[in-house]
């Protein structure tokens, strides 16, 4: 990457690292929630559904602020995590990953739910008569059949994670080399006198990343569809 400056490489690397972490950590939880929200009816279903979708409608700054309250050094979860596991989220890239995960979570769950709703429950019944228990059925029938949605959700969430700004800057600030991802670097460049060129270059990198992500997701979706014979 001869044509990128060290700080650009750093921001790009950080963005990718934050997005990967965010997707890896939220993926299992999103699958679980998609399944619970699609297949289970219980008291509080509507409330849980609303909670999952909340980041879509809240200003990102509010999400960042709530995260600060909960996961800050004096917040109930943050202080517990630090005491028990020694994990510090505030002002770290893991914190940035948490903020992006929360923001992109609704997109992920939504994609998975659509795909799960299309899974023929008759196939699960068939598996059941063939001797497959609940976890077995989920692993061998439900999950493979909702895989297009899981992939679509992961890729959408990954792309969104690359671009998350408000919640990240509010929760973990803008620290070079630790939390200054591409959009934060771009914002910083715009705030710096004479930073126009740097901003344009960062914008180009973001553009290429976004386009690449979309093309990749389309290619994946096609492969999976062919595999499922549709």
């Amino acid at each position: 990457m001869m044509w990128l400056s060290p700080s650009e490489v750093e921001a790009l690397h950080l963005s990718l690292s934050v997005a990967v972490r965010s997707v890896i950590f939220s993926l299992p939880l999103a699958v679980l929630l998609a399944w619970v929200l699609t297949r289970r009816r219980f008291v509080g279903h509507t409330l849980l559904d609303a909670l999952v979708h909340l980041p879509l409608v809240l200003p990102p700054v509010v999400v960042g602020y709530l995260l600060l309250l909960l996961f800050g050094t004096r917040g109930p979860i943050g202080s517990w995590l630090e005491r028990v596991f020694g994990i510090e989220l505030i002002f770290t890239r893991n914190g940035a990953a948490l903020a992006t995960a929360v923001m992109s979570f609704p997109l992920m769950v939504r994609a998975m739910r659509i795909s799960l709703e299309n899974v023929d429950r008759g196939l699960e019944q068939a598996a059941r008569t063939l001797g497959a228990g609940a976890m077995d059925r989920f692993a061998t029938i439900t999950l493979p059949l909702m895989l297009p949605g899981v992939l679509a959700g992961a890729i959408t969430a990954f792309s969104a994670a690359l671009g998350e700004f408000g919640a990240v800057i509010t929760f973990v600030s803008n620290i070079p080399g630790e939390t200054r991802t591409l959009p934060l670097a771009l914002y910083t460049a715009l705030q710096t006198p004479g930073g126009d060129v740097a901003a344009a270059r960062l914008a180009c990198i973001s553009l290429i990343l976004g386009l690449g992500g979309l093309l990749l997701s389309e290619w994946f979706a096609r492969r999976v569809r062919r595999l499922l014979g549709r």
């Binding site: 196939l123 493979p144 549709r230």
Partner: protein, 372 residues
């Protein structure tokens, strides 16, 4: 013995069904669409719960609401062939077949080779399920269910989604399953021809209730059948035994009761059991021994019952030697011939209007109808 007595309310529909099937045997659940056959089968499989009732296969109690016994479907060892096959689209045919086999108990009675041979699945193994025809899908679904080593096989209208040609293609496979594997089967159908061809026992269902049950021969004369199959499909199903081939006509001679029928069919070995359908509308009744006729088949017997079928016609049941056949004739004919129980008659039927199917499984044993 497979015994079922269950009750379930679904909205305004009430399922109240009970039957017993001696094992092994093929029980046909027969009735019009929407009479509750699929609901009943789903309760047997455990996919649907019952409000009250008991399901037991030999000494294994699968459901007993009184004693709070409920064995989940995955532990019932009941194979289920669905109307829409329900093959797993993300697996090859071979993987579909092995799905149940891998989860089956250690004691196995069929292996992949046997099943592949019986159902002719060899050439399909590496295919994806969406590349299969309708008939092939059903064959794979049957194989998959069998390989899970079930103690009972449920088939919910496996041929209903196929056209007539495909149906003819799959039926022989079902016959070979019945004849070569000693596994009890419950076969749901609204096509009486299929039932006659495959079943040893019939349970008649009407609006959620089991209204009659018994061996196929006995049930083919049941009055409750009339409203379901219609007058034209009504007739006796009798068990016959091949005596040989008539050299002059090439027709196959089959013993029925203490008489003999000649019919057009593929050559069969002497002694083969054949199931012969004698449609009531095809039978002609005479009160004297007929002569100089083109009709090949004349059975002598005694009238056992005469009952009114509709405004114009009567159903006459004739005992031709521990075998009952049924003729549908006009009321005027009944009057003129003075047909009444005890009267000796000759029943005539043309060889070309007889249909037969080979049947190797144990002949129909009649079940005691539990008051249903």
């Amino acid at each position: 013995m497979f015994s079922v007595a269950v009750r379930r309310r679904l909205g305004s529909f009430l399922l109240d069904a009970q039957f017993e099937l001696p094992t092994p045997g093929v029980m046909a659940l027969f009735g019009r669409s929407g009479c509750g056959k699929s609901t009943l089968v789903n309760i047997i499989a455990g996919l649907l719960s019952a409000d009250a009732g008991r399901v037991a296969l030999n000494e294994n109690v699968l459901l007993d609401t009184d004693r709070r016994v409920y064995v989940p479907p995955e532990s019932r060892r009941i194979g289920y062939v669905f109307q829409d096959a329900r093959l797993f689209p993300h697996m090859s045919v071979a993987a579909n077949l092995k799905y149940g086999q891998r989860r089956a108990p250690a004691h196995r009675f069929v292996n992949l080779d046997t099943v592949a041979g019986l159902l002719d699945l060899g050439p399909l193994m590496d295919r994806r399920t969406h590349q299969l025809s309708g008939g092939e899908r059903q064959r794979v679904a049957m194989g998959r269910a069998l390989l899970s080593q079930p103690a009972l096989l449920l088939l919910d209208e496996p041929l209903a989604s196929l056209d007539a040609a495909r149906r003819e293609e799959v039926l022989p496979y079902l016959e070979s399953l019945r004849d070569q594997l000693a596994i009890p089967m419950v076969y749901v159908s609204h096509d009486f021809d299929e039932v006659l061809r495959l079943a040893t026992h019939v349970v008649l269902m009407e609006s959620g209730r089991t209204i009659a049950q018994g061996g196929v021969g006995e049930m083919s004369l049941n009055a409750g059948l009339r409203s379901i199959v219609g007058a034209d499909a009504l007739g006796a199903t009798v068990d016959g035994r091949v005596l040989g081939t008539d050299p002059s006509s090439g027709l196959i001679r089959v013993q029925v009761g203490h008489g003999e029928l000649n019919l057009q069919t593929a050559p069969h070995a002497v002694g083969t059991k054949l199931r012969v359908h004698l449609l009531a509308r095809d039978l002609i009744v005479a009160t004297e021994a007929p002569r100089n006729l083109s009709v090949r088949n004349i059975l002598t017997g005694t009238v056992t019952t005469v009952s009114s079928d509709d405004a114009d016609s009567d159903l006459v049941v004739i005992d031709v030697g521990r075998t009952l056949i049924m003729a549908r004739i006009t009321k005027a004919a009944t009057r003129e011939l003075a047909l009444e129980p005890g009267r000796t008659v000759w029943a005539l039927v043309k060889a070309v209007s007889l249909r037969s199917h080979s049947f190797v499984a144990p002949a129909a044993i009649s079940t005691a109808p539990p008051g249903a």
